[in-house]
């Protein structure tokens, strides 16, 4: 099963083993990870599951849809070129080893 590494703002990193057919957000919340709120439960409506995707992985993710792009303009922490909503990243075997950084805040 693909594993994902979350790096907290203080530099601490957490490795999460994922199960098939879930999003990065679902893997994080199932694991009880602090730093991903996901208030809308993954419906692409709240922008509280914001992550910064490690540059080396960015090109390997599926392109984002228009609603994700619009929501990212409303994130609590600064939007950067590698900003994504973790509920919109579906974990596939190719994403084994994915590294994402958590923003300072989600609301």
């Amino acid at each position: 099963m693909p594993a994902i590494t979350f790096i907290h703002p203080d530099g601490k990193s957490e490795r999460v083993e994922t199960s098939g057919g879930e999003s990065v957000m679902q893997a994080a919340t199932r694991h009880g990870l602090d730093g991903i709120l996901a208030e809308c439960g993954g419906n692409a409506m709240c922008a509280t599951c914001h992550v910064y995707v490690d540059e080396s992985w960015l090109a390997r993710l599926a392109a984002m849809a228009g609603d994700e792009d619009a929501l990212l303009d409303g994130t609590a922490a600064e939007r950067r070129p590698n900003s994504r909503l973790s509920c919109q990243i579906d974990i596939t075997p190719e994403l084994d080893g994915l590294v994402v950084r958590l923003p300072e805040r989600q609301v």
């Binding site: 919340t29 709120l37 439960g41």
Partner: protein, 406 residues
């Protein structure tokens, strides 16, 4: 109440039949034992009183919400089937619509109520919450429903919409009609509709472009017609959605949160010790009390759900409140815990129709609870809380309290 039949299998006759009436006064007074019976009877049940299927477990409620092709909204999200009965008002262009029509109108409201817009209105909403607490501290003893849960949203939401000052007293009565009308043809629904004419006239008038102040949510919706996203005749009906769903819901949401925090002083203390918990304290109150208790869907084809076969054109009642306390999904579901991981609760629905105003609701809840907890040491309930009865909304009519300043 009796339970007959065996656990659901592919034989539709084996779906357990229950004689519970979820729109009855005794049910409203204490829904929890009945919710439990509904959950335990089976994943899908049949309610003989109104000839509808019901789902009360989290997994099935979530599944129905997330399959809008099979479980549609365009035939009404109340008991009435718009294919068989004329709706009491022109249907909503968003709530009572299916894709692709829904996709277009939904995009408009999502834009008008986006996280970016919330950043712009946040300071104003927070300042109004502080003013509300100023007034309450002067009173010391008051009704937490009228003077807080109603007064706060009324002081901010109609202005945010851009409504005229005159006639706002119609807003809560109108919403109460809308939410009663989702129910069956019981006394609550009949009486609400019978008395609705003046409220409907007010709302229809206020949805017109000329009556909405520039910069407000209403004007922003009309501006979307200029962009070609919707037509000029659709805009007023989309404004109506915010008038219907944007005020009474947050009244009951804030009322629920205050009622929880007054009943559970340990949680109030926790909030006072860490004000960053305010937003989750509100969210947990939405899970715990579920201000919007139920919605219906209508099947577009025969479908198998958790072993039960449901025919085409059947109404399915989703018990959001029961799903939000399903022990299969939640640890200690009956305790109000402001540090709970609330993500995934269905108090705002789920899927394509999930509340488009959820960010407004959370903003109001967060800033109001923050202001209260910063400046008030204690909230004591000083009289018997009185319940307000509605076919869809759960909340109080009055909650007498006395506060001690911090």
């Amino acid at each position: 109440m009796t339970v007959s039949g065996t656990p659901a299998s592919t034989d539709p006759a084996s779906v357990p039949h229950l004689d519970v009436d979820p729109f009855d006064m005794t049910f409203f007074a204490d829904p929890y034992p009945a919710h439990q019976r509904l959950r335990e009877a089976g994943p899908v049940v049949y309610l003989d009183k109104w000839n509808v299927y019901g789902v009360a477990r989290y997994a099935e409620v979530h599944a129905v919400l997330n399959d809008p092709v099979t479980f549609c909204s365009s035939r009404g999200v109340g008991l009435s089937d718009f294919k068989k009965e004329t709706p009491w008002r022109p249907p909503s262009l968003i709530l009572e619509a299916d894709p692709p029509a829904h996709t277009r109108t939904r995009a408009v409201l999502s834009k008008v109520l986006s996280p970016t817009v919330m950043k712009q209105i946040r300071d104003r909403f927070a300042a109004a919450a502080e003013e509300r607490v100023d007034a309450l501290l002067e009173k010391r003893s008051f009704d937490a429903i009228t003077d807080l849960a109603e007064a706060y949203p009324l002081s901010i939401f109609p202005d945010a919409l851009g409504l005229k000052p005159e006639g706002r007293e119609h807003l809560i009565p109108y919403a109460s009609v809308v939410f009663n009308a989702f129910g069956p043809p019981n006394e609550l629904r009949q009486q609400a509709i019978a008395r609705s004419a003046p409220h409907q006239a007010y709302v229809a008038e206020q949805c017109q472009r000329d009556n909405l102040a520039p910069g407000g949510f209403g004007a922003c919706i009309h501006a979307q017609a200029d962009e070609g996203a919707i037509t000029a005749t659709e805009a007023p009906l989309l404004v109506r959605s915010l008038l219907s769903a944007g005020l009474d819901t947050t009244v009951n949401g804030i009322g629920a949160a205050v009622y929880c925090l007054a009943r559970f002083p340990d949680q109030w203390q926790r909030l006072r010790d860490d004000l960053t918990l305010a937003r989750n304290a509100f969210e947990e109150a939405v899970r715990f009390e579920s201000p919007v208790q139920t919605f219906f869907r209508t099947t577009t084809r025969e479908v198998e759900l958790s072993g039960a076969t449901i025919g085409e054109g059947e109404k399915v009642l989703m018990f959001l409140a029961a799903a939000n306390r399903d022990p299969r999904r939640w640890d200690q579901p009956d305790s109000y815990d402001i540090t709970r991981r609330t993500s995934g609760h269905v108090g705002f629905g789920s899927g394509i129709h999930m509340c488009v105003g959820q960010l407004v609701a959370r903003l109001e809840g967060e800033v109001m609870l923050t202001a209260l907890a910063r400046r008030i040491a204690k909230i004591e309930i000083t009289g018997e809380p009185k319940r307000r009865f509605n076919n869809t909304l759960r909340g109080l009519d009055s909650l007498p309290v006395t506060i001690t300043p911090a």
